[in-house]
Subunit: 164 residues, 2 copies
């Protein structure tokens, strides 16, 4: 199973692709789509959508995973973030991918084994789990983390199903 | 010039298409895309995106217009609204449409001639301007209003240009 994790933002959208081979997680690619140079908000959303459509076309993932957001304190920034998320999610569903959401705590639990892990611990663990040569760009690293969370949760569901 | 106005929401997305023929505004169609029956938020966004792609394909508008949002007080509802807006805007930009945003005050000014008009006045004026048999569904009416605002603003720009 190949998973595309995304961490959408109105300026930087991180993405990470991993493959689950048996019980092993293999890093495929990660990167970030930068949109900050477009003043026009509609062009930013289009850049996110197009960029992710390109990633999906290139790597053909089986599923998309995204972190749930509860932290947006400010309504105006929540609206911006929501627009970026909307553009990103539509890229996934339009390509026929199932989209799963995970809370930050689920992601940390899945990656570090501890739901209250610090950001640096998560980044370090993503690097080590996926044998990356260095810590990935922050948003790409978050995207890889949610992909890892999905790959492991999906594995759990399969284990639960076969145990019945 | 044919304008698609939209009023995106996570449960109901209104749309309205008008055509500017000379100085006359002609109603083409209006309607609402209902997504409340999908529990899955990604499916809702997909429904909005697909629905608007269908409207664009059918009516081939030249431009998309949307109201700016400043009113979202609650961050969680702003996030939801943002996601719906993102999905809707991507449908437009992906079809090559320029997307323009107008404040609520600009829309009211353009439709009623008074920036602090009440919602009912705007709905009544949209009905009367476009010769509708009755007041359109609330979100569709808002979508028509922002389309009228764009059609008239674009007209103004042309007038200003030709006067030089």
């Amino acid at each position: 199973m190949r998973v595309l994790g995304i961490d959408p933002g109105s300026r930087i959208t991180g993405y990470g692709i991993i493959e689950k081979v048996g019980n092993r997680l293999v890093h495929v690619d990660n990167g970030a789509i930068y949109t900050g140079d477009h003043k026009d908000f509609a062009s930013r959303l289009h850049r996110i959508f197009e960029g992710l459509c390109g990633v999906i076309e290139e790597y053909r993932p089986d599923a998309m995973a995204i972190e749930q957001v509860f932290l947006a304190h400010n309504a105006q920034s929540a609206l911006k973030l929501g627009q970026a998320r909307g553009a990103a999610i539509v890229a996934g569903v339009n390509a026929g991918l199932p989209v799963s959401e995970y809370t930050a705590m689920q992601v940390k639990q899945a990656v570090v084994g501890y739901g209250h892990a610090r950001k640096e611990q998560v980044q370090q663990m993503v690097k080590s789990l996926l044998n990356l040569p260095e810590i990935a760009q922050a948003d790409a690293s978050d995207a890889l983390a949610v992909a890892v969370c999905h790959a492991n949760s999906a594995g759990m569901k399969n284990i639960l199903r076969s145990a019945r």
